[in-house]
Amino acid sequence: MHTFIIERNVPGASQLSHEDLVTIARTSNLAVESLGLPYEWVTTYVAGDKLYCLHRTDEPETVREHARRGGFPADLVAEVVAEFGPQTAGEVAA
């Protein structure tokens, strides 16, 4: 399984109510279940007019299929190739 960042343009995303988010989450879960492939929706951040989602699956095409089934935009799908943070500074450079 690979991890993907998905950028979705949703005008007014920051104004979505909790009720809206519940509806979207249910639709997304249903889309995940319907794929018939290994798939995990990790989490989503709402920022400005965009949603940034973290998903785990084998192929980027499956991420797009999830978006199609949910009726979501998927303006950018990018594989996460590394993760680092403050603690990385203390690690030995390869």
Binding site: L30, L35, G36, L37, R68
Partner: protein, 858 residues
């Protein structure tokens, strides 16, 4: 294709039509051409779906949504201009694929676009298969066929050689020759490709088998899924997949059959024929269940179009949901101005709603209105009649009154005066509330005024005056009162009709507004204010087109045919009369075009076999309509026919009674004068007093033919002038009249006049003109008249192009044709002769106050 698509978009667009049978390769040709298009050319796809009733404006909304985001093109009103503006912002190719499934409203939007195509950077590609007579698409194809710069392609079936090239030698190895494949497939590229995809197999006996052989090896659940996809018209929407249990591994196995493709909207069959083949393999009974599964899924998604939901509910045999969605789809179609589709959805809803409820009555009333909008008057009457019976059963007095009132209006448009009056009276007597009552009285007053019972009309209006309403009734009464004044020749009436029309427009009572213009133009023509009539119609006909009021458009086009007839513009007159009659609209609007068509045939001597049919049709309508102006005009036409040598006619037997009746009514003086003059010319003159007649008739009946002719020329009526002259006692006037008839290009009238004058012993008649030597404005079409008027104002080709939404090249082409018809050699000569050619300043409504003096004729 490639050549046409490689326009840089800067100069002008074009239209490409591609016709071919299903599977002929239309979509492939378009796809190949698009792939080869120059950079910077945007592609807009307008998809048409095979729904039993199409989505109103579906393809237009798809395109607009693709550009603008959703929520545009909700209604047809203004959608044409909005759409044209939206698509022409950027050089684009607009592809309308599967146009045989297009809806009527979208056709109107595309016609608007196509009429301006030479001035916008858009290539419109329309791919379609043959459509039946009466299909909405034919109007668009007709427009395209008449245009100068279009490409029309027809994709023929493949030859046996082409089949060989496609399938290669593989099939041949098994002893099946290419001719056999061609015979089996009819040369259809899709079928040939299907067979080529299965090398080594025995040639299938049917093309359906060829398609279905692709599904060999699928598990039952997979076949079931394939059949489920086949129930969706066009595309199975992506959002349905989670609710239909179609997961990705399953779809991949289905895609391996080669029958499916994934489009941005969903899962689709690669070809409609493949979908049909799979759909035909569904067992009886299972079909309905599959549709219901798709319908359930759409309800869970919660975003389906009502037209699509209706399609699945009806195919699924779900009565309740068919009714519910058909009602919603009808409301959408009505709001969009898509009358044909609204009729279909309302009819479907009513099939599933048989109780005598208020809801059924409401739907029937809506259906009646929509049927009227598409000129299906008998059906509109049946619908309103059933609504009326339900309202009576429910004891709904307002409803009863409204239904009677509505029926009265449709009866009147059907030219059934007596029935119209009966229902209008019933509407007024239904003890209804003030709104319904006011409307009923407005209808009664209008009917009385149209019958020229102006005192009765005024009495009804007076009685209503203290009971103002918020509806259209007060405006309708104002129009009736102004019309009554116009009938009687009162000066301010023209201005008041225009004011009432503007007031109605500002309150969105569009049909009331166009009715005001219908009445104004009718009496301007009737009372021979020809310049005013021309100015009114130049404004009001485009208004009826913009507002989509078919009845008023047909009526006013009929009035323009009569105007052109009076001005001697035979070609334009015939064009307008034919346009109304071809529409097969309301009998009320057909009566004048029938009279005009009969007179054109009588005068030119062409198409004389149709004279009697036109006169008989007009007579039948006139009898039921019972309006003096029509009744007398028809008898004038009959008498004119007799003068031209037609057999004596029983329709002239009652003229004394008809004249006596008409003379009791205001506004009939021109009709009375015309009939009396024609009767006198055929030796049936009554020698009665001439004092009350309009000047030219009075002068002729008093023997002053030359003066009568001058009066006619002052009014702009050259034919009436020339015919008056040939009846003059002095030889010089008569001979001059004959020369003028020759110049007017009315061979039958000229021949009859020549014979008459020869019989009177006149010598020195002008010699018969040689055919083809004549040049005058009588042959100009409406379009050429538009161009000629602008040329007369001194416009250049570039200015013409801007004014008329055509290219400068087309403008030049029109000007050449006009010069040829007029026998002139330069546009400067058109300017110099504008007045004598009757090409005065057109277009805008002039200040109506100046004509007040002219009303003194009355």
């Amino acid at each position: 294709m490639e050549r046409v698509l490689r326009t840089d978009g800067s100069a002008s667009g074009t239209v490409v039509t591609i016709a071919g049978a299903a599977g002929a390769g239309k979509t492939s040709v378009v796809g190949a051409a698009l792939a080869a298009r120059p950079a910077g050319l945007r592609v807009l796809a307008a998809r048409c779906d095979p729904l039993s009733t199409p989505r109103p404006l579906g393809p237009i909304r798809d395109v607009v949504a693709g550009i603008d985001g959703p929520a545009s093109a909700e209604t047809l009103l203004g959608a044409e201009a909005d759409f044209a503006a939206t698509v022409s912002t950027t050089p684009s190719v607009l592809v309308v694929d599967d146009a045989q499934w297009i809806d009527a409203a979208s056709v109107e939007v595309l016609r608007f676009l196509v009429r301006r195509i030479e001035r916008i950077p858009v290539v419109v590609v329309v791919a379609y298969r043959d459509v039946p007579i009466g299909h909405a698409l034919l109007a668009l194809l007709g427009d395209v066929a008449r245009m100068e710069s279009t490409e029309r392609l027809t994709l023929p079936p493949l030859s046996a050689e082409a089949v060989r090239a496609l399938v290669g030698e593989r099939v041949g190895e098994h002893g099946v020759d290419h001719q056999a494949i061609r015979d089996l497939t009819g040369g259809n590229p899709f079928f040939v490709a299907e067979i080529a995809r299965h090398p080594g197999q025995v040639l299938p006996t049917t093309v359906r088998d060829a398609v279905l052989s692709s599904t060999a090896g699928l598990a039952p659940a997979e076949v079931d899924a394939l059949q489920l996809i086949a129930t969706a018209p066009d595309v199975l929407d992506n959002r349905l997949l989670p609710y239909l249990g179609l997961d990705v591994p399953l779809l991949r196995r289905l895609e391996s059959t080669g029958l499916l493709v994934r489009s941005p909207r969903g899962v689709a069959f690669r070809h409609e024929l493949a979908r049909l083949a799979v759909a035909s393999s569904i067992e009886p009974g299972v079909d309905a269940l599959l549709h219901l599964r798709v319908l359930d899924a759409w309800e869970q998604v919660g975003a389906g179009s009502d037209a699509v939901l209706t399609h699945h509910a009806a195919a699924g045999g779900d009565v309740e949901r068919t009714r519910r969605y058909a009602i919603l789809a009808a409301a959408d179609a009505t709001a969009a101005g898509a009358h044909t589709e609204a009729v279909a959805f309302l009819s479907l809803a009513l099939e599933h709603l048989d109780d005598a409820t208020a809801q059924r009555a409401t739907l029937l009333e809506q259906l009646s209105t929509e049927q009227y909008m598409v000129s299906r008057l008998p059906a509109a009457l049946t619908s309103i009649d059933e609504a009326l019976r339900i309202r009576e059963l429910l004891g709904d007095r307002d409803g009863v009154s409204v239904a009677h009132d509505r029926r009265a209006v449709v009866e009147y448009y059907s030219a059934q005066r007596r029935e119209a009056e009966r229902h209008a009276d019933a509407a007024a007597a239904a003890s209804a509330g003030p709104e319904a009552l006011a409307s009923a009285h407005a209808t009664r007053a209008y009917l009385a005024y149209r019958h020229l019972d102006v005192d009765e009309a005024r009495a009804i209006a007076d009685a209503q005056r203290d009971r103002p309403t918020t509806g259209a009734a007060d405006l309708r009464l104002a129009i009736t009162e102004a019309g009554a004044d116009l009938v009687e020749g009162r000066a301010s009436a023209r201005t008041r009709l225009v004011d009432a029309a503007n007031a109605a427009l500002s309150r969105s009572f569009d049909e009331v507004a166009t009715t005001a213009y219908s009445n104004l133009s009718a009496f301007d023509v009737e009372h021979r204010r020809l310049d005013d009539a021309e100015a009114v119609l130049a404004t009001s006909i485009p208004m009826t087109v913009d507002l989509d009021i078919a009845l008023c458009r047909q009526w006013q086009t009929g009035m323009r045919s009569r105007l052109h007839l009076l001005r001697g513009r035979w070609a334009a007159s015939a064009e307008d009369a034919a346009a109304v009659l071809d529409d097969q609209g309301a009998p009320l609007t057909a009566v004048w075009p029938h009279i005009v068509a009969a007179l054109l045939a009588i005068r030119t001597g062409a198409d004389t076999t149709r004279v009697e049919a036109h006169l008989a049709s007009a007579e039948q309508i006139a009898r039921d309509l019972d309006e003096s102006l029509v009744t007398l005009a028809l008898r004038s036409a009959v008498a004119e026919g007799v003068w031209h040598g037609r057999a004596d006619d029983a329709r002239l037997d009652d003229v004394a009674r008809r004249l006596a009746d008409a003379e009791q009514r205001p506004g009939t003086q021109w009709a009375v004068g015309d009939l009396r003059v024609w009767l006198a010319r055929t030796g049936r003159g009554d020698g009665g007093p001439t004092a009350g007649l309009p000047e030219p008739y009075r002068l002729e009946l008093d023997g002053a033919h030359a003066d009568a002719a001058r009066a006619w020329r002052d009014l702009g009526a050259p034919y009436d002038a020339a015919v008056a002259e040939v009846h003059a006692r002095d030889a010089a006037t008569a001979a001059a009249g004959l020369a003028r008839l020759d110049a007017l290009d009315v061979p039958a009238t000229a021949a009859r006049a020549r014979a008459m004058l020869t019989a009177r012993g006149l010598r020195a008649l002008p010699s018969r003109p040689r055919p083809g030597t004549l040049a005058n404005p009588s042959g100009l079409t409406n379009r050429q008249l538009d161009v000629a008027r602008l040329v007369a104002q001194g416009l250049t080709n570039a200015e013409l192009a801007t004014a008329l939404y055509i290219s400068a090249k087309t403008a030049d082409h029109h000007v050449s044709a006009i010069l040829a018809k007029l026998g002139l050699s330069s546009r400067r000569e058109i300017v110099r002769n504008a007045a004598s050619l009757g090409l005065g300043r057109p277009g805008e409504m002039r200040d109506v106050a100046h004509v007040d003096g002219a009303l003194g004729h009355a």
